[in-house]
């Protein structure tokens, strides 16, 4: 059955890789996790294609595309904007500016449907087809700039974590005084099934990524930089090996296991350290950045290009031809799917991001944001989930959980509505990787219980703070 298949596949890669570089060390990994079929074969051979913005297209650019305070629109209806021009100024330290993805006219600044299905403030630009760059964007030679200047450029370009968390990068790169950072870890794992965006980026533009890593190393003043790449991307490992020759960057192949790419699990696999519960990676001397973020940092510093486009995989059983696209932030999903040959068969579900941690989108005209690493369309047949059966305490979820908590016990307490009991069972340590829901033979929606518990606990904490 599937698991056997995946095991052979990952063993094959491991052996292939071992003879190739003669590395005898057994591949590192974390405890827990599981082996969903990675289904990357749909799009891993496809080169990156640019998805064009035709004249008259509407781009809906949300002002809150990142963790932290949403930006404030600094353009009104009817303004002309150029590509890369700032249309939203950041509010507060943990916030980033928002830029126009193409040149055109602002036709509305109003709440629009976002990926989570709620209506939030967005700037709607009608493209004029000229795709004209903003003239006063300027690059600079990173070696001449001081770390603080580099960070200002990263903030000005609106760079956020591209792995899906969208945490502002300039905040992550400025650890408080007391914390000593000695590891910069680059996340090229991409353990989510179907997604091949980072894989193609590392294969086609390794030098962009490496330059970006060097900039990040200078900012953090760190000596060791490690790129974690899963064993099922041998060509990417090879190209990155060549690009990192003699630059003090180490490529560390990791075992094929989900969720290898989760921040805490990646740190444990590469350095053997455990991020303290409730703490940040900085607390154990590490900073983790996505390889896509490194490439974006390089483009921002050297060429002054803000974060207005990114690579995303459009794949799944309901897409005519799965592809890896260079998409413009704000393009609706329907445009991307059209570019990939439209929907094949009856559409059951649209997911933004990966099938395990991604967010189900409500309709096709939801726009793409800075955190979209993939668009997956599944046919009706593939999506039907068996009715929820009783929990027979088989323990699969307890074994699969990488955070070592007890999913079935927490779900049991949440069914009783006992949020404080769930908090005692460490539900706040859940990294929402979805492994338990995937492996549960009774098809119980465990992750939804945890999200419910965590939001209730956060609400309690907020209430306690207010009183």
């Amino acid at each position: 059955m599937q698991v056997q298949q995946v095991k052979e596949r990952s063993k094959a890669f491991v052996n292939l890789f071992r003879q190739h570089k003669g590395m005898n060390m057994e591949l590192k990994t974390f405890k827990g996790g599981l082996h969903p079929p990675d289904n990357k074969r749909w799009s891993e051979k496809k080169a990156i294609e640019v998805c064009p913005v035709a004249e008259g297209d509407e781009l809906v650019i949300h002002l809150s595309q990142h963790i932290g305070a949403p930006a404030e629109a600094c353009v009104q209806k009817g303004d002309k904007v150029l590509k890369g021009q700032v249309i939203g100024t950041p509010k507060g330290f943990v916030s980033v500016p928002i830029h126009a993805s193409t040149s055109g006219e602002v036709i509305a600044v109003e709440p629009r449907l976002d990926t989570a299905g709620n209506k939030t403030m967005a700037v709607v630009i009608k493209a004029d087809g000229k795709d004209e760059w903003d003239p006063n964007l300027s690059g600079a030679d990173p070696d001449k700039l001081m770390p603080q200047e580099l960070k200002d450029r990263i903030l000005a370009a609106g760079i956020v974590g591209m792995g899906g968390a969208t945490f502002p990068t300039h905040v992550k790169l400025s650890p408080p005084e007391g914390k000593k950072i000695d590891y910069l870890i680059l996340n090229g794992v991409e353990c989510e099934p179907y997604l091949t965006a980072d894989d193609r980026l590392m294969q086609e533009k390794p030098e962009e990524v490496v330059e970006g890593i060097l900039i990040l190393k200078r900012i953090l003043g760190v000596e060791k930089a490690v790129i974690g790449i899963e064993a099922n991307k041998p060509t990417a490992i090879e190209t990155m090996q060549k690009a990192c020759e003699g630059k003090g960057i180490e490529v560390c192949p990791l075992q094929l296991k989900y969720p290898q790419g989760a921040e805490k699990q990646l740190i444990y696999a590469v350095t053997g350290r455990e991020v303290p519960s409730g703490g940040l990676p900085m607390d154990c001397g590490c900073v983790v950045q996505n390889v896509g973020t490194a490439a974006a940092v390089n483009a921002a510093v050297r060429r002054g290009i803000p974060l207005i486009e990114r690579i995303a995989t459009v794949s799944g059983s309901a897409v005519a031809e799965p592809k890896n696209l260079l998409i413009k932030i704000g393009q609706p999903i329907s445009k991307l799917v059209e570019f990939c040959g439209g929907v094949k068969g009856e559409l059951g579900k649209i997911i933004q991001g990966g099938p395990m941690m991604g967010m189900a989108a409500v309709s096709m005209d939801v726009p793409v944001t800075r955190g979209t690493s993939g668009i997956l369309l599944f046919s009706e047949g593939e999506v039907i989930r068996a009715p929820e059966g009783p929990c027979v305490r088989c323990g699969n979820c307890v074994r699969a959980c990488p955070a070592f908590i007890m999913p079935t016990e927490i779900a049991f307490q949440m069914r009783r509505g006992k949020v404080d009991e769930a908090e005692k069972l460490n539900v706040m340590d859940c990294i929402e990787c979805g492994s338990c829901t995937y492996i549960c033979p009774a098809q119980i929606p465990l992750l939804q219980f945890f999200r419910q518990a965590k939001s209730a606990i956060r609400a309690n904490i907020a209430k306690r703070k207010k009183v």
Binding site: K28, K180, D182, K264, Y268, T271, G272, R273, E274, V275, P276, S277, G278, G279, D283, C284, G285, G389, P390, C391, V392, R393, C394, G395, V398, P402, A403, F404, I405, M406, T408, E409, L425, N426, D429
Partner: protein
Amino acid sequence: MWEVIGALCPCCLLWILSFGVQASCLTILFCVLGCVLAEAGWELIRKQPITVRDGSAVMTGILLALNVPPNAAWWMALLGGFVAIIIGKQVFGGLGCNPFNPALVGRTVLLISFPVQMTTWVMPRTHEITSATPLSAVKMAVGLHGNITPEVQAQLSGVFYGGLGGQLGVLSALALIAGGCWLIYRKIITWHIPASFIGSAFVLSSIFWLVDSSKYPSPLFHMVTGGLMLGAFFMATDWVTSPLTPKGMVVFGIGCGVLTVLIRLFGGYPEGVAFSILLMNSATPIIDRLTMPRKFGAMPKKFGLVTKKG
């Protein structure tokens, strides 16, 4: 569930061969019938979807049949099935909610309500009725003369060649171990409970054996008789009634092993496996609560610059 039944087949086959096809087949049939009818009937009355297809009732029936003497009356097997499913499982709300292993509930109820019929065993292949299983023979001997009399000693030696009766000879013990290892390989059960159960039983019985070999039978004897293998691989590892975490499973197994040997050597009933597993089942919620896994990042010393792998 069906895979577990598959793993039980070698033992059932041996069981039928050694106790006469006609008698044991009937018992197994009636036990399974009792369980299935009970579950279907209960769900019909409560207008719930019939869940007999998931195989849990059939498995309970087979496990019950392996605990009941093959020459037991048909109505006893049927009654055992009803009790096991209705009182053991359905009353608590169906699959996944029962605190005790249904097969053992059925067996213990039968044992206590029909002590005579439940302890009259048929000699394998010679089919004459004998009331003495090896275990009860030992208990009676120890009770009367204070040590194992020579003729009982002779009877015991027969056990090693699968000759003497008792629920299972050495052959079926091997069949059970094979079935159990297949389940472990298929990752349906983990090794923790069987290993700790058999290990602790072996260790404790060998201690007593070394102390006074005339009064207490050898550990090997304990391993082979009284359904210890059946209990360790198939009944103690029932998902619903055993702890979730590996630490909890080991505690559960050791508890079962120790109690089994204590009841066998000092208790009133010859057979201890059923009671020890039921006792540990009642302790499972407490064990679960005490053996929570350490959450990721819980150990402060690990987060410092001390690294595990260089």
